[in-house]
């Protein structure tokens, strides 16, 4: 029996997710079953198509979520850094990532950037470690060409690991498959936004997180069946406040944290969980130069992402439109402890929300947060203040 033939889709997703914190046995099994190498990437974005086209399984390294002590990592980092950084270092230090062949980092923040160097110094003999500098001057006429060359540089390294050469046709096929993956992930997100009573956040998150640990073909197939199943549900709506959650784009909040937000009287109609793999949208799968198509899709995208600067983006306009489009009644900012990018975006967004008279709440989390009473109290008060306004 292959893995896809287990009893239900959600169980399949759950198995992958439970394995994705501190064991990665599924990664090992998929590698063996499909004869692929494994590429792990630190959030937020990586063109997964490049890995797939080179017969690699792209896996999003999302941290150990409180399942490991962080003692080794703490000695190598610094006191004031986020948990995901420490837990990814700890995973490598404890050899839990041994089934990975490649690790990729990028310029999402100073912490992730420096992490790439110390990972390389400590574990460079075990893994091929790459660092991608994504452009931030995305209105420059040179940005697409630069990123294309950057991708070609990275491909050169990946080809040495995989032992095969990049072919345009393989990359076009990969873009097609990942376009489909993004479409399905976005479809689930839309469904949640339209009818959040049909699936609790925990199920939603489990489904999209599983997509980061499964081969894309299998995930797409499973997601299609999951979407059909969810759409056929007849759950009735409850009286809850529709909120957008922002800040969970990199370090993962404990699932219980998000469940607490919902249980305290909210429907999370939009959030940034696993935003990286779906943010880029549809990429031209028929381009003569598919590497350039990937670069172009990155540079031209004007949807804000906290970890990526784009000179022509207006974040204030974006947040107001987002609230309107999602028909949301408030915004809950959840910031990973010590995550500066999220803390600065919070100021930009909050001044826009203040001006528009849209209620918001600011909370913090760490991946190992285990007490949620404070969250419950804060969110209940917030939800009630909206409901009875």
């Amino acid at each position: 029996m292959t893995m896809l033939e287990t009893s239900s889709t959600i169980q399949l997703f759950e198995e992958h997710v439970e394995d994705s914190y501190a064991s990665f046995n599924m990664v090992r099994r998929w590698k063996e079953e499909l004869g692929r190498k494994a590429l792990g990437y630190f959030p937020v974005y990586f063109p997964e198509e490049l890995a797939h086209a080179l017969n690699m399984l792209p896996i999003n390294l999302l941290g150990a979520s409180g399942r490991l002590p962080l003692d080794i990592a703490t000695a190598h980092t610094q006191s004031f850094v986020c948990s995901i950084t420490k837990s990814v270092f700890q995973l490598a230090a404890q050899d839990i990532l041994e089934m990975f062949d490649v690790l990729v980092f990028s310029n999402i923040c100073d912490v992730a950037r420096n992490l790439s160097g110390i990972m390389r110094r400590n574990f460079g003999a075990k893994y091929h470690i790459e660092y991608i500098h994504y452009p931030i001057n995305n209105t420059s006429a040179h940005a697409v060409g630069y990123l294309e060359e950057e991708y070609r540089r990275v491909i050169g390294g990946l080809e040495r690991v995989s032992g095969i050469k990049m072919r345009d046709e393989a990359l076009r096929d990969a873009i097609g498959l990942y376009n489909r993956k993004r479409e399905l992930m976005n479809r689930l997100a839309e469904l949640r936004s339209e009818k959040p009573w049909l699936l609790p956040y925990t199920e939603y998150y489990t489904a999209i997180r599983a997509g980061e640990f499964m081969p894309v073909e299998r995930f797409n197939q499973a997601m299609e069946s999951f979407l059909r199943e969810v759409e056929s549900r007849t759950t009735r709506p409850a009286d809850r406040v529709r909120v957008i959650v922002k800040g969970d784009f990199c370090e993962q909040p404990p699932l219980m944290y998000m469940k607490t937000i919902e249980d305290a009287g909210c429907y999370i109609v939009g959030d940034e969980a696993l935003i990286g793999p779906r943010w880029i949208g549809e990429i031209n799968a028929h381009a003569d130069n598919p590497i350039r198509a990937l670069a172009k899709a990155y540079v031209m995208n004007t949807t804000p992402l906290t970890v990526r600067y784009h000179p022509s983006i207006d974040k204030r306009k974006h947040i107001i439109e987002l609230v309107k489009d999602m028909n949301a009644e408030g915004v809950i900012f959840i910031t990973p402890k010590f995550c500066e990018p999220a803390l600065y975006d919070y100021i930009i967004y909050k001044t826009a929300l203040d001006k528009a008279g849209i209620p918001y709440l600011h909370l913090e989390y760490e991946e190992s947060t285990s007490s949620f009473e404070h969250v419950r109290t804060m969110v209940e008060t917030f939800a009630e203040s909206i409901m009875f306004d």
């Binding site: 100073d110 790439s116 500098h133 001057n137 803390l343 001044t351």
Partner: protein, 414 residues
């Protein structure tokens, strides 16, 4: 040491005053003010357009040095900035929220914000605050991180940065209404290159034994000229004066401490609110910093990484912009420290992490591990903050520093 051989610091103080006077004069005659970063600013190009630079990192540290940080940090925190945000950003934003009024006088608010993304991600977020809070136009130059671990820079990186500088020129022409004058740029670059070279030679006097310079605590005073007034005759003259002073110190056998008992390499940003006391923790042990990484934030001038060239003005500016210290990856940074230990014959390394700056500090623990375990170099890792006095615990620091020197004494047999 006689005051006669410690005149450069005073001269530096006068140059800083002159610099602020020049900024005020530029504003008065209708020139523009650009907020710039210490790392990777293309000031040579901005000068061609008579744009006056303000460096909020430097104004913040100056305010903090004189004890004026808490009210500004408080103002930003009341506005909503977290205690976990960088102190520089909070002070810089508060200065603008306060319409330029600070404890060290009026700091002009920006007409434009020159975003040079090199070595610090928070640079982006900081300038974005001005963009959203007061509509300041942000001019962006994206500078790729030095990501090859052998220090190699891909050609496409240099082409990319140079290409953006070419794009910046017409934007500056439009913004200021002034025409670009390439000859003027070459002349400014010529003066900059001369100052950089003299500054390198000053820092390299740390190789002498005993060292006539504290290449960290004193260099912090001296380094302001290379950022604030680079590209001027005054800057060249200052570093020539400093070099003469340092050589005279060496010839007369004097230096920044009564004797040279320990030679240290220093990594990290200093503590400004208690600068003198912080220095005192080391000076009291007759320790001299013979080399340091912090004075290289504006540019790693001593490893042949870059040199400004008036014949290749744009390309050489691009190379300079890539080689800001924090734009080097952690392996290259650790290797640089190792080289300093070897070439400057240091006894140990002090690593000072600060809460505010993850760019500098994230991975400091790993550098310590590398030095102690792989290289058998004594290393001390301590923490505080560069501007926020709440994170300075002197008693705790002193215990750690004293213990370090005691063990160094045993190791060195002094």
């Amino acid at each position: 040491m006689s005051q006669q051989l410690d005149r450069a610091k005073q001269l530096q103080g006068e140059l800083v005053k002159q610099y602020y006077k020049q900024v005020r004069e530029t504003v008065e005659r209708g020139g523009k003010v650009a907020y710039c970063f210490v790392m990777a600013n293309p000031i040579e190009l901005l000068k061609v357009f008579d744009i006056a630079p303000i460096y909020p990192e430097i104004t913040s540290l100056q305010i903090s040095y004189r004890g004026g940080a808490p009210p500004l940090i408080g103002l930003s925190e009341e506005f909503g900035y977290s205690t976990d945000c960088c102190g520089y950003v909070k002070m810089g934003v508060a200065t603008v929220l306060n319409n330029g009024q600070t404890s060290i006088g009026y700091i002009p608010t920006p007409d434009l914000a020159m975003l040079t993304y090199s070595g610090c991600q928070i640079y982006i977020h900081w300038w974005e605050q001005y963009q959203y809070l007061r509509g300041t136009p942000v001019f962006t130059i994206d500078i790729p991180y030095v990501r090859d671990y052998d220090g190699h820079i891909p050609r496409h990186d240099i082409r990319y940065v140079a290409g953006q500088l070419e794009e910046l020129i017409p934007k500056l022409e439009q913004f200021t209404g002034k025409r670009f004058d390439e000859e003027k740029l070459r002349e400014i670059i010529r003066l900059s290159a001369e100052a950089w070279d003299l500054w390198r030679r000053c820092l390299e006097t740390g190789k002498l034994k005993p060292s006539p310079i504290d290449a960290y605590f004193e260099a912090i005073y001296y380094m302001s000229a290379i950022t604030l007034i680079r590209g001027s005759r005054e800057c060249v003259d200052f570093y020539r004066f400093l070099l003469d002073e340092l050589m005279a110190r060496y010839e007369q056998g004097v230096g920044p401490t009564p004797e040279e008992r320990f030679r240290l390499v220093f990594e990290g940003v200093p503590n400004y609110p208690f600068f003198s006391r912080f220095w005192g923790l080391f000076r009291g042990w007759n320790a001299r910093c013979v080399a340091a990484t912090y004075p290289k934030v504006a540019g790693i001038i001593d490893m042949g990484a870059f040199s400004l060239n008036p014949d290749k003005p744009i390309e050489s500016l691009a190379e300079y912009m890539i080689h800001a210290y924090c734009n080097w990856n952690m392996i290259s940074r650790a290797n640089l420290i190792q080289r300093y230990v070897r070439e400057y014959e240091a006894d140990g390394v002090v690593i000072h992490s600060i809460k505010s700056c993850r760019s500098f500090s994230m991975g400091h623990g790993d550098i310590r591990e590398y030095l102690i375990k792989d290289l058998d170099v004594p290393a001390l890792h301590i923490e505080s903050d560069h501007v926020d006095p709440r994170y300075y615990s002197e008693a705790q620091l002193k215990n750690r520093v004293d213990a370090f020197f005691e063990s160094l004494s045993i190791r060195k047999g002094v």
